[in-house]
Symmetry: C2
Subunit: 417 residues, 2 copies
């Protein structure tokens, strides 16, 4: 089986020095991988002529496909276009399609006058195939040289995604005869990575060469991914299914989700199947669980809303938590989260509620309740259960861990009641 390798080059000081987190590369890598292209390397370089030039040379020795993002903006620090023009030995010319696109965006969408600088965005090297940008002003560029394909796209995520989906991926699939790459994943909870590895060691060792197992630990849970690579799709699907079934049986005790869904997607799937609704009552997670749930398209079907009761008076006033409870047991207590669920079930008129209260840090901890102490409750009108957690991390990680565990408790409660 011949592998087609790809490198991704990200250009721009803001990415290199970490002012911006690079989410583009992850998305691009996933799409390439799904298409059967082997991700070989990802490189981030600054807006430095020699750096970019050398990286193009180096990566073209390693990969057949080189995808480049960034450095196509209208300002002086954006040097990608003139560099590519020189690299591939062309000269800059106006592209009519790109020019009309820029004009259209300014006249009909931005409704602002255009300046010279904007027009220059429609210039392209005459040695490339232009990729029209339906979502912005900078066109993409497709170059071929010595059997290598180089594609330059803007760094703006939704512009890059549009070009990849509409043009780049379909064209790459046409150019190369690609193997099938299939994945199956499951998510375990409540078991450490090393114990899991010990438990399934024989299974892992016995896997055929073309099926690989990966451990993806995240927020106290471990996702297991089986990846199969081959030329015959139906044989491959069959093999992968069989191995996956074995893996599922081996890990049944800890498996929370046996498909490639996030926690909030798994909750969504359950609620839609049952035609039921959920609401949240969040103190320490401060709306983050609501955000995870409402990030899914169509969540209005099953999500009623949240009372983010950050202040105690909000817990009392909207959720009717007993002031006495807040005073004696405290805001971070079994009683409080229990009452938060009761209050939110009524206020949000919903089938299920999950509630959180805890100390996320860095301040607010006490000897009795150190930073990381969290109570989570989940329930319906018949039953409410509470659980105490203790996370030992920084604020953002504590918030993530609380939200993930709350959604897992919710998922479990729904599937059992």
């Amino acid at each position: 089986m011949k592998r087609v390798a790809a490198s991704i080059i990200t250009i721009g000081d803001e990415l290199l020095i970490g002012q911006v987190v690079d989410t583009n590369s992850a998305w691009m890598a996933q799409e390439l991988n799904k298409a059967g292209i082997w991700m070989k390397r990802r490189i981030a370089v600054g807006d430095v002529w020699n750096e970019i030039w050398n990286t193009l040379n180096e990566e073209s020795e390693k990969s057949q496909i080189i995808l480049i993002t960034g450095g196509l903006g209208p300002t002086a620090d954006d040097i990608t276009k003139p560099l590519l023009c020189e690299y591939f030995g062309g000269k800059l010319v106006f592209d009519e399609g790109a020019l009309n696109n820029v004009k259209n965006i300014f006249e009909n969408i931005l409704k602002r006058p255009m300046i010279e600088r904007n027009l220059k965005q429609a210039e392209v090297p005459d040695v490339c195939t232009v990729i029209q940008n339906k979502r912005g002003t900078a066109p993409g560029m497709w170059f071929e040289k010595d059997g290598r394909i180089f594609v330059s796209m803007p760094g703006v995520p939704h512009e890059m995604k549009g070009m990849m989906t509409d043009y780049v991926l379909p064209e790459l699939k046409k150019k190369f005869s690609l193997p099938f790459i299939l994945h199956k994943t499951l998510l375990t909870a409540g078991i450490g990575e090393s114990f899991l590895a010990e438990h399934i060691e024989k299974f892992e060792t016995a896997l055929p060469e073309h099926i690989k197992l990966a451990y993806l630990p995240n927020y106290g849970m471990v996702r297991l991914r089986l990846t199969a690579t081959g030329d015959d799709k139906s044989i491959l699907e069959n093999e992968l299914s069989q191995q996956f079934d074995t893996l599922k049986k081996l890990t049944a005790e800890w498996t929370a989700i046996d498909e490639d869904l996030s926690m909030s997607q798994a909750v969504a799937k359950l609620l839609k199947q049952r035609n039921q609704t959920v609401g949240t009552a969040e103190s320490c997670t401060g709306g983050y669980i609501a955000h995870l749930i409402t990030s899914e398209a169509g969540s209005s079907e099953y999500y009623k809303g949240s009372v983010v009761s950050y202040a105690n008076e909000t817990k009392e006033h909207i959720l009717h938590v007993n002031p006495q409870t807040l005073e004696t047991a405290g805001a971070v207590s079994q009683e409080t989260v229990h009452q938060m669920v009761e209050g939110a079930l009524l206020q949000l008129n919903t089938d299920y509620v999950v509630a959180t209260s805890g100390i996320m840090g860095p301040d607010g901890g006490t000897t009795d309740k150190p930073v990381g102490t969290v109570w989570i409750a989940v329930g319906n009108r018949d039953k409410i259960i509470e659980q105490k957690f203790y996370f030992r991390f920084d604020r953002s990680r504590n918030i993530e861990l609380t939200a993930t565990n709350a959604l897992n408790m919710l998922r479990k409660f729904i599937s059992e009641h």
Copy 2:
């Protein structure tokens, strides 16, 4: 001025194929940059022996400092440690400090029995300086070879951050005589990148060689960053201040924040200065504004909470939006967000409220109100203002844009009332 260059190498298939977004590199790059170290390249490679080996060779030719994360877990796909051992010509030995750390974590924190695999985490090449891991089981490793420094750390973000802060950065500062790198940033709103560039072109061209201007567009706003590099800190501070003052004057019309603060940090600063509080009433942002506000440590000082009224009945029941309004004007209307602010001011008993309602997509759009139509209102007990927006993007970007603009309206309203 001699520059000390660094490369960051990230090891692991899960990062390379995009299963996990790499946030480590951005953080590390920022810290190196602050320390006066020049970020030269960032490379992500898979768990492939030759790939890692060649990348070590290549980067050691380009940079004096090579920081490596990932591939130190206890499972079979983690090959970084044996590879580094061979690369630097050592052999694996047990490190007593690391061993005690692993034992302590299992006995006192995880409270689980330890297995062989866990003990092996305390093995290190005998040719490295061990960096103790206070937050996990895998120790870090510091190697020196041919005047290059190589540091290997776990890929778990808070473990890596602990090692960087406690050991790696202080040691690097001791090893090298580093220049000062100073940044000053401001955030503009309501002006496009190319117009801004046109407006400050002369300023940019006239900047001295050692002060650079960068444009960082994000969610419809553009952050401008001045970076000065030099050996004399006080001269540098002076020069940078002067240039920054000029820049501020030039962009005064559009400047939202004239320091390196996020929107939610700027809001926090204003509220703390005034000893006032805020609450949110979110429909389309689904708790995301609440999450941005509560991500800041100490937000309980000025944040009362949110009513995430995703369902119309929640808008009616908790926020007392008039059912008539919802029927005639609709949930996405000036009237509805106005009433959401009124309701939340009372329910959350707070000085200010910001409210959102819109259609985030991909479904739910109509001819009158296409996907991306958003109403935002902000107000206090004396005055409420509303503004309509139209974002043309995908769900997650529409949510981001709505939240950023809502926080900006809030910031402006607070500073003007």
